[in-house]
């Protein structure tokens, strides 16, 4: 176990491991998203109140869940980088940030499209929506700070500290629908109870969420490989790879 973790810190070994894991995750992501999309768009029943417009949930919920998970992953990677000085962890945090920002934007955008038929407005200054908007700016801040420092060790540490500070927003987003009485509905999935919707509705949603996670993992592995090559371009094994 420990040797495995220690090996993970080696760029060369991590590069080949990412290469080996990647196809499995791509296939899983493709299958899950394909099955989930067809099931959710064609076969699951329309909602008795919202009709067919509720189907936006199949994009909205996975992207919103990912928006938070990616930031937590970045925070964990940042902590690992600050404590054990493992460069791979910083590279992983680097490649995850733009994807997380994209997911946050997708969550906000799909939510605002959904808001028109159900709430009658594109945007409302509701606690969940505002917290999510703050999340988007935190992602942009992390990316901008990295950009300002360029690819060096100092910038990496600064970004890691900012990510760890920014993670305070995650519980605020998570519990915003509990603490405040908001327009946004409570969480769809909880670990402790069954969803309030029929199985034919939540099963495809669960499949979509898992599909988004697999897609995130596959994309991170793919981009991590690129990042390793870019940062280790002076080492002998990368140059041997290029020849």
């Amino acid at each position: 176990m420990w040797t495995f973790i220690h090996k993970l810190g080696s760029p060369k070994w991590c590069y080949s491991l990412c290469g080996r894991l990647q196809p499995g995750f791509w296939i899983a992501a493709l299958l899950l998203i394909a099955v989930g999309s067809v099931w959710s768009l064609a076969y699951s029943p329309p909602d008795y109140q919202m009709g067919n417009s509720y189907r936006i949930i199949y994009v909205h919920v996975p992207s919103a869940i990912l928006a938070q998970s990616v930031f937590v992953s970045m925070a964990i990677a940042s902590a690992v980088f600050l404590i054990w000085k493992i460069k791979i962890a910083d590279m992983a945090a680097t490649v995850m940030a733009p994807f997380g920002a994209a997911m946050t934007f997708l969550g906000l955008f799909s939510g605002s499209l959904w808001g028109v038929p159900t709430w009658g407005t594109w945007w409302t200054w509701d606690a969940r929506l505002t917290a999510m908007l703050i999340q988007l700016f935190l992602y942009i801040g992390v990316i901008a700070l990295r950009g300002a420092y360029g690819r060096n060790d100092q910038g990496a540490k600064a970004v890691a500290v900012l990510t760890l500070v920014g993670v305070v927003n995650i519980p605020i987003i998570k519990y915003s629908v509990v603490w405040w009485n908001t327009l946004h509905q409570p969480a769809t999935f909880t670990l402790t109870s069954r969803p309030a919707m029929p199985e034919s509705m939540w099963m495809p949603l669960l499949i979509m969420v898992l599909g988004f996670y697999c897609f995130f993992t596959a994309l991170t592995l793919y981009r991590l490989r690129n990042e390793i090559i870019r940062r280790e371009s002076r080492t002998r094994w990368v140059q041997a790879l290029a020849e």
Binding site: L145, V161, L162, V165, V168
Partner: protein
């Protein structure tokens, strides 16, 4: 302020061999030094107040001078303007110390850097947050803010601006090594300022509408307590990164 004068102030303040100075003594010396530097810089502490007055003046001219409308938006407006004034003052928090090497001396000191940072931030709050809090009710009168809100405005700004100083110092420490950190600093810090703004303006709003501002003020106090515990270590860590890489 010349280099010589600053070195002089350092010798005045931290003249004794630092090994014999305790933690409290070092923090007191840090506070004395910051105050001495501020005194020699003259009227620089007035700039956030002038900024606050100017920004507040723009709104009646830009939106409408109607007293009813102004009274409605005054709590939020004063809070936003004070928050921006704090933000502007933060960019310079560590910059001159970084330029003249005092920051490195702080790191070399045997006392924990987090404690010295806390002393530095406390002086920043004393010279920025406190004057802003005391000055804001005056502008509130110009915006026809009901007098019932004045005391709450002072209290909420006193509590809130201390949190803003602490959080902002993390951002200032992270960007001190960058040549143009100003815009980046606002991008990093403003999202983290939002909770303070919500409860700060909320407290004043509640007081104006005849409600009870206690819960919002209590939450501001809770945020300050949290920031007091966590922020000094984040500031110290960020400064180490900015100086040593």
């Amino acid at each position: 302020m010349t280099r010589g004068a600053l070195n002089q102030s350092r010798t005045d303040a931290v003249g004794a061999p630092s090994a014999t100075v305790g933690l409290v003594g070092a923090c007191a010396a840090q506070v004395r030094r910051e105050l001495a530097v501020a005194r020699r810089r003259g009227g620089e502490w007035l700039n956030p107040l002038i900024f606050l007055a100017l920004v507040t003046m723009l709104f009646p001219l830009g939106i409408s001078p109607q007293p009813d409308l102004l009274a409605t938006i005054a709590p939020g407006l004063l809070w936003v303007a004070a928050l921006l004034a704090m933000l502007l003052s933060l960019d310079a928090l560590f910059r001159s110390d970084h330029a003249d090497g005092s920051l490195e001396q702080m790191m070399l000191a045997p006392q924990p850097l987090a404690a010295l940072c806390l002393a530095k931030v406390a002086v920043h709050w004393l010279l920025t947050g406190v004057p802003l809090a005391l000055f804001a009710p005056l502008l509130g009168v110009m915006l026809s803010l009901p007098t019932a809100g004045s005391l709450t405005l002072i209290a909420s700004l006193l509590l809130g601006s201390a949190t803003l100083s602490l959080i902002g110092a993390i951002g200032a420490a992270l960007t001190v090594g960058l040549p143009r950190g100003g815009v980046l600093l606002s991008l990093l810090i403003l999202p983290l300022y939002i909770p303070v703004l919500i409860f700060g303006a909320g407290a004043v709003q509640a007081a104006v509408q005849g409600g009870f501002a206690g819960p919002a003020l209590a939450l501001l106090g809770a945020m300050l307590a949290l920031a007091l515990v966590g922020a000094p270590f984040a500031i110290a860590g960020a400064l180490r990164i900015s100086i040593h890489g």
